[in-house]
Symmetry: C2
Subunit: 340 residues, 2 copies
């Protein structure tokens, strides 16, 4: 497979866009050329990558001919607006937004878990929500040994999940508070510095937030368990990069703690910590694995476990998973738009 | 009831000791005299309270005669060491540590929930663990309408739960990190600033931490539900004062969302937020209520709810609850040691 691919990134100047360039630099995707796109506002910005200077192009006016794989990370609206033009030139889109995730014809993929879903793609593959991605490999491993019955999740999500300016706002709020000054509120509706925001996205008619509904619906789609029972509470915490999750899993059949640990140990993309150890955000930043710690029996269930799951939300939760999707597409010779 | 009581505080210079003085000042306990005690190291410190200057006495050498009610908040070891001497002089002890909580003869009390347990006290009443206290009124309210079946809890506990020096450490770590300097580690085993510590207390043979075991065991004792199924994951987050809890409740029988809300609305000591609203730590600091928000159906259960519960861990989680115990003892005429 000597073909080399032309790669595009739409939303190149955001937190995930920058991380895509980092991960592209580290991994061995066979690249011919990288082109960066953004809105008019960011067009013209020069980005250095692998000793080249890449100029951000205005997506409105750019000629897209020749692009093979396009990573979208410029928001749902941009994905909806520009998908057609990329597909027209034969590019396969790996979309990091929620725009197409729940469409039946669009594969929603965590490659370690459901790479086979890629086979039926029609030009767009969705990258799941950050907090959902990091649950998939551990849940899939436990499902294989005991069958998932119900999952209760509480998240501890970092500010970077809301973008680069959200991280800056956490920093600025923190500095202002330490100086006894009024903290700025721009991205966040309430103060995040030294506080918590148990509302990510909008509150939906169900009472869950859009983020919580994503976790429920996307988990079911990725794991091919359309009736999986999932309860989620998503909380923004004052950290910069790295999402952590308190995960409670009820299984259908009895599984020993040692079996659960072996299943997690074997699971591709999972780094299992030693017994009684646990990852924090500082451990996972810059890493591509999903770290699992504090695996223990839940004594309130016949067959259940509690786990602490952490991952870099910009990498495994976004950029790395997207690039792993591209790698899987190449390995399966699927870098072409199949609209038949 | 015109009697006025002599009050003692052991551990008067700690975070909870200071808050006890604040709460004593605000509430109308019939006080004759307040005496403060601490170890030799803190003895002699002058504390201003209600325009009086109170001098901290050395607990080792002090004459305890005349004390009616003693609040203990100087650690489990101090409680065990000094309880006998206070009981000898006829004082009733309200102990904020875990020293006696699980002893059968010792009432463990959240007054809105189980004040009747005070009737059998033998000189010591235990104040429950901070994160447990704030769950009791909401859980008790839901138990009355639907019967508790299983509870899954993930906590977001502030640094003040580990004392005054822990709050200082969070501040100092934060400042150092913002200056790109090495953050200090004294109280905490790992960095808390802009990070998370999913291990509070020691890890026990069950795999749960001592804090998690407290939540399980103390909840069962307070609610008089010795077999209640509780799963807990306790996490320290970089906030100063105010513990928050993601609470998932499974009930025995079907309860409408409106019924659950009414039960919480009626519950003494609970402040129910409007639908879709929620408290953060900034709301609850300095307040004596347990705030409950984001009450919603858990669609993964036939009868279950998710709630977000927040309270000031130094007040309702410690000082306020202790003083409410004293008020209940006085109302029930139980301020005497009953060793028969």
């Amino acid at each position: 497979m000597s073909k080399r691919y032309n790669i595009a990134i739409l939303g190149a100047t955001g937190a995930v866009g920058e991380e895509l360039l980092n991960v592209l630099d580290e991994r061995s995707l066979p690249i011919h050329k990288v082109r960066l796109f953004a809105s008019k506002r960011s067009a013209g910005i020069a980005v250095t990558w692998q000793k080249q200077t890449l100029k951000v192009e205005d997506i409105e006016t750019a000629d897209l001919q020749g692009i093979d794989i396009a990573f979208f990370t410029a928001g749902s609206q941009a994905s909806q607006t520009y998908a057609g033009r990329f597909i027209e030139v034969g590019a396969v889109i790996i979309d990091n937004t929620s725009a197409f995730r729940m469409q039946e014809a669009v594969p929603l993929v965590v490659p370690e878990v459901n790479a086979e879903a890629l086979d039926k793609h029609r030009g767009i593959i969705s990258n799941p929500n950050c907090s959902t991605i990091q649950l998939m490999a551990p849940l899939s491993a436990l499902h294989r040994v005991g069958g998932l019955k119900r999952v209760v999740v509480s998240t501890y999500q970092s500010s970077s999940g809301a973008g680069k300016r959200a991280m800056e706002e956490l920093r600025d709020q923190t500095i202002k508070l330490l100086r006894f000054e009024e903290p700025p509120l721009k991205i966040f509706s309430r103060r995040l510095a030294f506080d918590l925001i148990p509302e990510i996205g909008s509150i939906e008619p169900s009472g869950d937030t859009s983020e919580e509904e994503k976790m429920i619906n996307e988990s079911r789609k990725i794991l091919s368990l359309p009736h999986l029972k999932v309860s989620a509470t998503c909380v923004r915490v004052p950290t910069f990069i790295g999402h952590c999750i308190s995960l409670n899993v009820e299984l259908e059949s009895a599984v020993e703690l040692s079996e659960a640990n072996e299943a997690l140990e074997r699971a591709e993309g999972v780094l299992l910590c030693a017994a009684d150890e646990w990852p924090s955000t500082v451990d996972v930043v810059g890493d591509d694995d999903v770290w699992v710690g504090r695996v223990r029996r839940d004594r309130s269930l016949d067959c259940g476990f509690n786990l602490w799951v952490a991952a870099d939300n910009l990498r495994k939760g976004a950029a790395t998973n997207a690039i792993q999707i591209a790698e899987a597409l190449i390995a399966r010779d699927l870098v072409r738009v199949n609209l038949t």
